[in-house]
Symmetry: C2
Subunit: 455 residues, 2 copies
């Protein structure tokens, strides 16, 4: 499936780099679709990626780095000199800057921070001190704030004088603070339009503005913006001092990234986000750390088979059904896991709903277990011409489907109640349980009716 145009743009970028033609590089980045540019950059060698950043102005380089996923951005920054890195990250928005620096090895990070203007490095260190998915970790520190004793005219003057600097801000509101930086009000830009220049801000502002605590977690912020259609909300510390502004778009993005991380964890990528441009050793080790836990759980589950080898040896046809029952129970259980994870995310259920979820799943489990069991039982009966073999595999799959959906529906709730991450552990716990019970059911049921199976 060759894709001419994407191959072409990689070649274009490489030849521009090879000829050190910085105008051609800028032209390429300006004319390429953003996705095309990201794709082409990810295909460059590490040396070419560094050369690319160096051929751009600091501001252009910062825009480019900002477009890339953070782990890729951090790896490109890491290969620059400390001064180059500091110059580029200084041009990034405050929250992205802190995120990229936080992904660097500690020594590099503090060297780059030391090489930045003091005001920037202080702000970055403060943002980095918050958990990434909290208001403090998501907020930007570029915002307009004025003292309540200032006038509308003062604000308008300030806006005109610093228009250049503010152009890079996402200015939607101006915040009003009292002595000590305490947040006391907010001004919408349209309020400025409708007020007299002599008015004091304390008269024109909206008092007791909505705000969030700087330690508020992502879930709280999502609900806040779900309820309030605002572009941003001021974040205050424990003393009510304004410390930053959380924008709804950053909250939406963080929520999307969190659900992408959940997805990766459920699929077994748990050591951190993986890109294929990372070194083989890291990729392999991270995946192995997860697989080695899984193989131990698998061996434990399969040991149930070892305990019933005699039954299996007597009716070798059962061996065909063991992996089917293991896989199908895993599928049914995963469906229940997915519905619970989604209802948890939507706020429809919480751990107190365990019994309700179990009841709802049990009903589905009985119906689907019977349907799948009858289907597999018919296969067993017709294939071996032994009705009892059909009955055994039908009963085992039916009962195990019920077990699987009940555990699948409830495991994420129990993990959440225990403060654990449901995305990480639900899958392996589920399949270990359903494998063990599936193997146990097939082999003990078969053992109980062995004379009918071997006749």
């Amino acid at each position: 499936m060759p894709d001419k145009s994407s191959r072409q743009s990689i070649d274009d970028l490489q030849s521009a780099l090879a000829s050190s033609d910085s105008q051609a590089i800028v032209d390429f980045l300006d004319s390429a679709e953003p996705a095309e540019a990201v794709h082409a950059i990810s295909h460059l060698s590490e040396a070419d990626q560094s050369r690319l950043l160096k051929s751009l102005s600091w501001e252009e380089a910062a825009d480019l780095v900002d477009d890339l996923p953070e782990e890729q951005a951090a790896r490109m920054i890491e290969r620059l000199t400390v001064d180059e890195a500091a110059a580029i990250v200084s041009e990034m928005p405050s929250n992205e800057r802190a995120d990229v620096i936080a992904r660097l090895p500690e020594l590099e990070a503090s060297a780059i921070l030391d090489a930045m203007p003091l005001a920037y490095s202080r702000a970055a260190r403060r943002l980095m001190s918050y958990p990434a998915d909290s208001a403090g970790g998501l907020m930007i520190t570029e915002y307009l704030s004025y003292h309540e004793h200032q006038t509308i005219g003062d604000v308008l003057d300030d806006l005109r004088i610093h228009a250049d600097r503010y152009r890079r801000y996402d200015v939607q509101y101006a915040y009003v603070v009292a002595d000590g930086g305490k947040l006391v009000g907010v001004l919408r830009l349209r309020d400025l339009l409708l007020s007299a220049p002599d008015d004091r801000l304390s008269a024109a502002m909206i008092r007791e503005p909505l705000s969030v605590c700087d330690t508020a977690q992502l879930e709280v912020l999502e609900r806040f913006f779900g309820r309030h259609t605002l572009f941003g909300v001021p974040a205050v510390d424990d003393d009510g001092r304004l410390v930053g502004v959380v924008r709804s778009t950053d909250v939406e993005q963080a929520a999307a990234e969190r659900s992408s991380r959940s997805f990766l964890k459920i699929m077994g990528i748990v050591g951190g986000d993986e890109l294929r441009s990372m070194p083989l050793r890291i990729r392999s080790m991270r995946r192995l750390s997860w697989l080695s836990v899984n193989i131990l759980l698998n061996i434990v589950a399969a040991s149930v088979i070892a305990f019933h080898q005699d039954t299996l040896a007597a009716v070798i046809a059962l061996a065909v059904f063991l992996p089917i029952i293991s896989d199908m129970s895993g599928c049914s259980g995963n469906q229940a896991v997915a519905v619970t994870m989604r209802e948890l995310a939507l706020g429809f259920i919480n751990p107190s709903d365990l019994w309700r979820v179990l009841g709802k799943e049990a009903a589905v489990g009985v119906i689907n277990g019977l349907a799948l069991g009858v289907l597999l039982g018919l296969v067993g009966w017709l294939w071996q011409g032994n009705v009892m073999l059909g009955v055994v595999v039908a009963a085992a799959l039916a009962i195990n489907t019920l077990v699987a959906v009940c555990f699948g529906g409830s495991i994420p709730l129990v993990l959440r109640a225990l403060g654990q991450d449901p995305a990480l552990a639900s899958g392996p716990i589920l399949t270990t349980i359903t494998d063990m019970s599936g193997f146990f059911l097939v082999l003990t049921l078969a053992g109980a009716v062995l004379p009918y199976l071997t006749s």
Copy 2:
């Protein structure tokens, strides 16, 4: 794990409803955390949910419905009378209104549309004619637009006169159109501050504003907002006429919902989003439709075992390793699927990178296959005291891990190239292939060295 407060708030809401005390209901909704309110509402009976909506003003009801997931919102709306439903959805933002109506059965939807003010139903029908995840499906039709011949003063007057109506808009920009509705410029609110009232809009506006085509897909919009930090972008039709405004927050939300849908599909919830409040029959049938495909694939894969029953009967210990190799290969392959799906979503790879992905995965597959193979081989050797059994299971797992990561990494790319949804089909295709090759490898390798295994 009883959760007092959430139990308490369900009881509070139910008793307010039972006493038909509409003030108590409004007080509950105002004072409850949004998540708590959603949780409590989802625990009400259907009759109580209808009573709840009827006890609120149309506007309050619209806000409430807007906070709920769309499928839940649609189910609540569906149970109202046509006039009630029309009154409530008329108060919703235009894009949410169209989304909720689109989820209703066709007859109900058109009855409700007919009962709405003509301007609203026309707008809703137009929005519904676009695919949900396109600019047209996401855009809002509440925006400010003025003719280029009007003056700044005209705009300021209009803003003051209609302040009440515009308060419900997310006004960040005003759009400027020429005759025929063609988009020619954009005004930022701050431009209004800095211009003289007599200026014509054509003089004050930013010309040739950024815009998107109304048929632009979600990916295009994501990239647009990734590149441009804007709150919204005007959408134009083929003739360049302004038809709506796409807000970045709606794009972020649609992207999050799309990845949540992907997650559900991968986990086997494919017939549509499931909530446990849906009728048992629907939930059960949707899950079964997926499971019944899966069980057929499983039976096909397991038939490989049936063809090698003699080998298995001779070395019954192999039966213990078949499910382990099936599960572990599935895990390794899923990791590769996850990384490819993420790199596809980030734009790092496209189907033209098939060979590159295969090369990268093969390297991981060799290392992880050897590591896992040696581990399982040791288990086989030590358990049965037969070194050749260890060699067989080690070789089978090592080779099958390589097969699994190569297929896992490339299946989503091939499905994408064929225009299929990778989230839907990658899992079942992968596990069918890896199960078949895993069973085949174990049993044919064992068959080749059978004398050493049975000695």
